[in-house]
């Protein structure tokens, strides 16, 4: 047998590249732990139901599935959140104080072929469970920013949206769930003419049509919040803008407000997020390097009604951004010492250096090979 290459979508990481990745992961993990997040490890695969449509953000066709001996469908995790939520509901049901978990591991999605996307990526993230205040969102966003700064990323931005703003307008306009889903997809693609077409077809009134068309324009610095508030026109959307203003204030107290922008047209394709959502963008990579938000209905699916907010970094996308922005990561050099008949002496010298924290490899030298 002579199989030398890996299957499509997975790859080997070794040498300096892996050293850099481990360094970045270490820096971020330290940051997450410093906010009091407790490390948690959930299984690599779980029952299909944990990632089913009502719960997860990954469509069933993109999940790697297996069948166990009893005929149950098992799924390789596409992300950590449902697993952590299941675990929190199971073991921490009777706790009233907020729970903070952080995790780190590989995730799997069976994405389309030949588009240059990896099927196995490393994710690292946090979940803050049982705190429904705006301070919880602010903490996770500030933490994400501080972790990226610690990793050395220079140019990035966190864009923040609030799904309630869109839902409020739809509710006021009497738009049904099916149409809402259609609009959600079009607005998140910023496809304004598509939105117009759908609304004309449905015969929506002029006022709500204009409001919905303008959502895609509500994108930029905090100044757009005033404009959004003016245009909201209903209580639910007003409340959403108010939350964003408050959030911006708290982020100012953290001193990270200059890294954020707002995008009220940012909507998740799934009903998973219930309030504030955010994505981190950086020049040089097509994919977002982190995403997260509030998901107050998820834990209920596992039998514990609790508020929750969280985010995850895709480490591979972050590494690509660091590389594209030419951020240098210090590498520890390994020295190689060769021994011949003086093995014992060389070993003693090497031992000393290893104890001092150096990386030293001991190889047989040419002379030894001659002796053989």
């Amino acid at each position: 047998m002579k199989l030398l290459h890996t299957p499509e979508g997975v790859r080997d990481i070794y040498g300096n590249e892996y050293a850099r990745k481990l360094w970045v992961e270490g820096v971020i993990k330290k940051q997450l732990n410093s906010y009091g997040y407790m490390d948690i490890m959930t299984p690599t695969f779980e029952y299909f139901d944990v990632f089913a449509r009502e719960i997860g953000t990954t469509p069933s066709k993109d999940l790697f599935k297996m069948i166990d001996g009893d005929g149950n469908t098992l799924v390789l995790r596409p992300d950590f959140t449902p697993g952590v939520a299941r675990c929190a509901a199971k073991y921490f049901g009777d706790t009233d104080t907020p729970l903070r978990f952080c995790y780190h591991g590989n995730t799997y999605t069976n994405t389309s072929s030949l588009q240059g996307k990896l099927k196995e990526v490393t994710q690292m993230g946090v979940e803050l469970i049982g705190d429904d205040s705006i301070h919880a969102e602010a903490e996770t966003i500030a933490l994400a920013i501080e972790a990226l700064l610690a990793a050395g990323l220079l140019e990035f931005q966190i864009s923040i949206g609030e799904v309630e703003y869109f839902k409020g307008i739809c509710e006021a306009a009497g738009i049904d769930a099916q149409m809402e889903a259609k609009l959600r997809d079009l607005i998140s693609e910023k496809n304004i003419f598509g939105v117009e077409e759908v609304l004309l077809e449905a015969g929506a009134d002029d006022k709500s049509r204009e409001q919905l068309l303008r959502i895609t324009d509500l994108l930029g610095t905090q100044e757009i919040l005033a404009q959004a508030s003016e245009e909201a026109g209903n209580q639910r959307s007003q409340a959403a803008v108010l939350r964003l203003c408050e959030l911006y204030k708290v982020l100012g107290e953290y001193g990270v407000d200059k890294y954020v922008a707002f995008d009220l047209g940012m909507l998740s394709h799934y009903n998973y997020y219930t309030g504030i959502i955010f994505k981190c963008y950086a020049y040089g990579v097509g994919d977002v390097i982190a995403k997260g938000g509030r998901y107050d209905n998820l834990l209920e699916q596992f039998g514990e009604k609790k508020a929750a907010v969280g985010f995850a970094f895709t480490i591979d996308a972050l590494m690509a951004a660091l590389y594209r922005q030419r951020v240098l990561i210090k590498e520890t050099a390994t020295d190689t010492v060769e021994y011949s008949h003086d093995f014992a002496d060389q070993l003693n010298a090497v031992k000393e250096r290893r104890r001092a924290g150096e990386q030293v490899a001991l190889n047989p030298g040419k002379a030894t090979e001659d002796q053989r």
């Binding site: 389309s112 588009q115 140019e155 931005q157 864009s159 693609e189 910023k190 496809n191 304004i192 003419f193 598509g194 895609t216 324009d217 994108l219 930029g220 922008a261 995008d263 994505k279 963008y281 950086a282 020049y283 040089g284 990579v285 097509g286 994919d287 977002v288």
Partner: protein, 213 residues
């Protein structure tokens, strides 16, 4: 940050010239690009801080998704076929044609009874979506790379799925439109990261182009 060049990727061919006319109407000039004899690959307008390049049309959304270009001008057919993550912000209203199922007049019968037939096309994703999800007809899709009209003539395929603009190639070969899948036209697409991080400038360009339509 404002120093950053914004880059346009235009689909090669006829569409590129119509796109350039539109850009000019919006006040975005690039004289260099008009010179058909030029061997340059990337054209620059220093004054506006803009760059332009031509690419094979299926590659345009790829350049835009990865941020190698901030803007792209390409047909809806390509966007549907490639399924890239980009913002689709304007319908530019040119390059209009229809995505159709075509074949010999006698093939009409084959589309009515969920028969297992062979479909030749340059657009396997669009064809698959149409036959599987809309018509619920199981078919065998054969990917072809050009002169798709040959398929039914030499009996490689029962029908073809292709773009029809004037229909003259079809007529010359005795083929007809059997069913229309959808209308397509040129679209302006934007990289998601640029849209988020450079929203002011990008929004300006989009509205200038919208005005020019």
């Amino acid at each position: 940050m404002n120093k950053r060049f914004l880059t346009f990727a235009l689909a090669k061919g006829r569409m590129a010239y119509t796109a350039m006319d539109l850009l000019e109407k919006a006040g975005i000039h690039c004289e260099e690009m008009r010179d058909r004899n030029s061997r340059k690959l990337v054209f620059v307008n220093e004054e506006l801080g803009l760059r332009f390049f031509l690419a094979k049309s299926p590659d345009v959304p790829t350049y835009v998704e990865y941020g190698a270009a901030d803007f792209g001008i390409v047909g809806k057919d390509i966007l549907m076929e490639e399924g890239r993550r980009v913002y689709e912000v304007l319908d530019l209203d040119f390059g209009k044609c229809a995505m159709c199922v075509c074949g010999l007049p006698s093939a009409k019968e084959l589309l009515c009874h969920h028969e297992f037939i062979r479909v030749g096309t340059k657009y396997p994703h669009i064809a698959k979506d149409y036959f599987f999800n809309k018509k619920h007809q199981t078919v065998d899709i054969i990917k072809l790379n050009g002169s798709v009209e040959l398929g039914p003539l030499v009996e490689l395929a029962d029908v073809i799925v292709d773009l029809v603009e004037t229909g003259s190639t079809l007529r010359d070969n005795g083929l007809v439109i059997l069913e229309e899948i959808c209308q397509v036209s040129a679209r302006l697409i934007v990289n998601q990261v640029s849209m988020q991080m450079n929203s002011e400038r990008i929004k300006q360009i989009i509205s200038a182009m919208k005005e020019a339509l």
